[in-house]
Subunit: 498 residues, 2 copies
């Protein structure tokens, strides 16, 4: 039932924009315009009804003076009126039997106005209207076209230049839940840059009703969501969070970036959200117990999301590193050891096979096959494939990191290298997770990484970031094993790639 | 004398390319072509002489059959002949009174051929020829046009597309010394992407003669070098390194990325360079004692280089954080506390002044002024400037991080914001280091960061990276104070910006 009521936020048949505005830089204008644009583009199917007591027409659409004037039933109300009018507007929504409301308006507990907030909550409860907000930027669903992010895609600079400022991610499979609206918009910009698709984004502001646990539960059942990422500053109802997180992470991974880790940081968080951040160690324990994968900055958040979205988790922590640059191999090995992955010296059959490749010149005779497998600056595309073939079959390792620095002369076409690596991995049916690295910003580096990503081999800009992402596959895998869900999850995961 | 002899590598009057080749993908061709191109572009002033016993003309230039045939004196010989011919070629260079040689050729101690290497060294010593290499990619000086990096700027893919693969950084003030050639080329790609200028790059391979300490000493006296960054895997002569590093870091900062930190990492380094990496704690102590700023991955290497190149060091660790996104402020505060910077609660005059700004509405009445100073999503350009003006005058803080997330509606022109912040900082004569952050990859984010950088306000993609860079200003400042060189360095530094 909870989940059903929450789906109105993401897939409403009809939407009222209460506080729709004529002024172009007002949220009540930007939101209406975005929805109408998405409708025109045929992304949004919902019927749209602007509400404003003082207007009759806006952006070519009839305006209603009150939500009660609308003849159609209304599933979602987006409320952008000044705080003091919210109780009245929400009451009207209740009388109209609106199912869900996103209250964008600020001016509640975040500035000490706790009473007004409680009044709003009371009305919501009375009429059974679910509420996201107040004081939030709301919801973005690239699949359904619902978009209450009142920051326009473009900014027009003082000299008239129109530049992309708040881009929207493409439809995808990663859900983003952010306590901070600002973090959410920043994260979306990052996702667009990294080419990561979004299932839906929610910023829930003062969370008087819908909170992170409700959203987790919703995304658990959401077909489009395969990985859930969260930015948190505080959790009030820890018990509820743990219970639900535990349920969810048995089915799909939850990755959390929790700010306010330190004394000074939680002071900062408190002054910012009026919420007590609490002891970090308590959060840490709660996350561990409920299978949440914790990360420590925004780059890591998306690095890990990419790995867990593209790759199955693993049972073991043994990693093989293949490289054409000795230094990169050393740095990857360092980071692996520091965060608790094993870079085992190869022996037995694996070593014999690599040794043989070396003997017959299929990899350079001066390669190092000790793990890292260093093909050196004499590496070619064929050598990577030969070495990879041995490693994909080896039972001495659980994961493989391919450091494919594009500069070496023998890799004549680094994009083709990425493709051939992907073909080889596919030949083995993605049995072992493979992650890739190419460093730098040159055209070749960018295209090589894109090619890896396109083929479900998550790619990273520096070795250390790939290693941290690989670690998450092990962390989540270990949790799944602990709760006896490893095989079930892998089978769900396999169904994704079909 | 050492320094003088080393300058032949970077500013030779005349260069012989011994082993110049007709085959387009051979180092002996690529190097000659790059030098001739740089000469055509009037970047390189040196006279160029290709040497190849079997050719008479190459790329439109007369070819000599031996270095001894050349009538002109030769200051630098670039040697790209097979390993076994190197002794003979170097002897001829000696007889010709060549001053310096870069031996690109591989096939020495790195594959067990220690004897050949010793023979080469003996010849070098006998004739007083300085040697970089063997088994290296050599030298790049964007100022003088010397370029022995035998990886062409472009790769031509299988479908004929020509793409930038190994770009060369623009002339600048950061010197790069790398034990690993691969790391060096990767780093150059990174520098181009980050817009960081290079004074010179050296990869010294097996370092039979010129080593990291010699290069440090050279860059100490090099006018174009303001910051030295190094990638190291091992140091053989620790005493020499410490002595020289100590001398150098009293005058300009040295930033070191030392790989092979862990047991597994040093095993990897050993198999890669045949050198013993040694205990990390020993390196750590050596770096600390000699004023070297240590970093832990490539991104941090350049983040810190940017800060130390653009900003003076500081005496104290107290940092103010100004933000328009609460979450970003919290994350910055967390990282600051974790790495030992202080984010003090403001009091006294500073607090009074900020309070007053709040009262008279020059910053939002609901701003948080506790540090982080959170101007919230209602921030405007003017508000940033007002708050900054107070902080630049405050004696409660030593550094300022401006988190200027471009999304908020009140910042109509984020590039103008960056300019006005720079003007304000300039008004106070750069008295307090200011670092900036805007997150994401959107056009606006990229341009805002570029504008900060252009104005000597180093900018970063996420708050955590800016905080780590700020920490380096304090680390280096503390070292300078310890050795009583703080004021001298600051006065050298000030002369840079004139």
């Amino acid at each position: 039932m909870t989940v059903n009521s929450i789906s109105y936020f993401f897939n409403p048949d009809s939407i009222a924009v209460i506080g729709a505005s004529r002024e172009e830089d007002k949220p009540g204008h930007i939101i209406l315009k975005m929805l109408l644009d998405n409708k025109k583009k045929n992304i949004l199917k919902s019927r749209i009804y602007p509400v404003n007591p003082k207007a009759n027409e806006l952006l070519g659409v009839k305006v209603y003076h009150s939500v009660k004037e609308i003849k159609d039933k209304i599933e979602l109300a987006i409320i952008v009126v000044p705080a003091k009018y919210v109780p009245q507007v929400l009451t009207e929504c209740g009388e109209k039997d609106v199912k869900a409301s996103i209250i964008i308006s600020a001016g509640f507990s975040e500035i000490g106005n706790k009473e007004l907030e409680l009044e709003v909550l009371k009305i919501g409860r009375e009429y059974g209207i679910r509420i996201i907000g107040p004081n939030c930027i709301g919801v973005l669903s690239p699949w359904s076209g619902v978009d209450t992010i009142f920051l326009p895609v473009y900014k027009i600079l003082s000299d008239g230049t129109k530049l992309v400022s708040t881009p929207r991610p493409k439809p995808g499979y990663v859900a983003l839940i952010s306590q901070s609206g600002a973090f959410g918009t920043v994260a979306m910009d990052y996702m667009v840059g990294e080419g990561i698709g979004l299932s839906a984004f929610v910023s829930y502001g003062n969370k008087i009703d819908v909170d992170e646990a409700d959203l987790l539960e919703y995304f658990m059942s959401d077909d489009k969501t395969r990985v859930i990422i969260m930015y948190l500053e505080s959790i009030e109802n820890g018990r509820k969070f743990i219970d639900i997180a535990r349920k969810v992470s048995a089915i799909k991974p939850i990755i959390v970036l929790k700010a306010g880790r330190t004394r000074a940081g939680s002071r900062a968080a408190a002054s910012h959200t009026a919420a007590v951040a609490g002891l970090d160690a308590i959060y840490d324990a709660a996350f561990r117990r409920s299978g949440v994968v914790r990360v420590y900055d925004m780059e890591e958040l998306f690095d890990v999301a990419k790995a867990l979205y593209m790759l199955p988790p693993v049972k073991g922590n043994r990693i093989a590193i293949v490289t054409d640059g000795g230094g990169a191999g050393v740095m990857a090995t360092d980071m692996a050891e520091i965060i608790g992955l094993d870079v085992p010296q190869l022996k037995g059959e694996t070593k014999e096979e690599l040794d043989k490749l070396r003997e017959i010149g299929k990899i350079p005779y001066f390669s190092s096959i000790d793990n890292p497998i260093d093909l050196t600056g004499s590496a070619t595309t064929e050598m990577y494939i030969e070495a990879l073939d041995v490693l994909l079959r080896s039972n001495e390792i659980d994961m493989i990191i391919v450091l494919a620095l594009h500069q070496v002369p023998g890799i004549r076409d680094p994009i083709k290298l990425a493709e051939e690596i992907a073909n080889k991995v596919r030949e083995y049916n993605f049995i072992k997770p493979v992650l890739a690295v190419d460093t730098g910003y040159s055209e070749v580096a960018v295209l090589e990484r894109e090619c890896f990503d396109k083929n479900n081999i998550p790619s990273y800009k520096i070795p250390e970031r790939a290693i941290k992402a690989a670690k998450a596959l092990y962390t989540y895998g270990s949790y799944l094993r602990k709760i006896n869900r490893f095989n079930e999850y892998v089978s769900i995961f396999s169904s994704y790639n079909k």
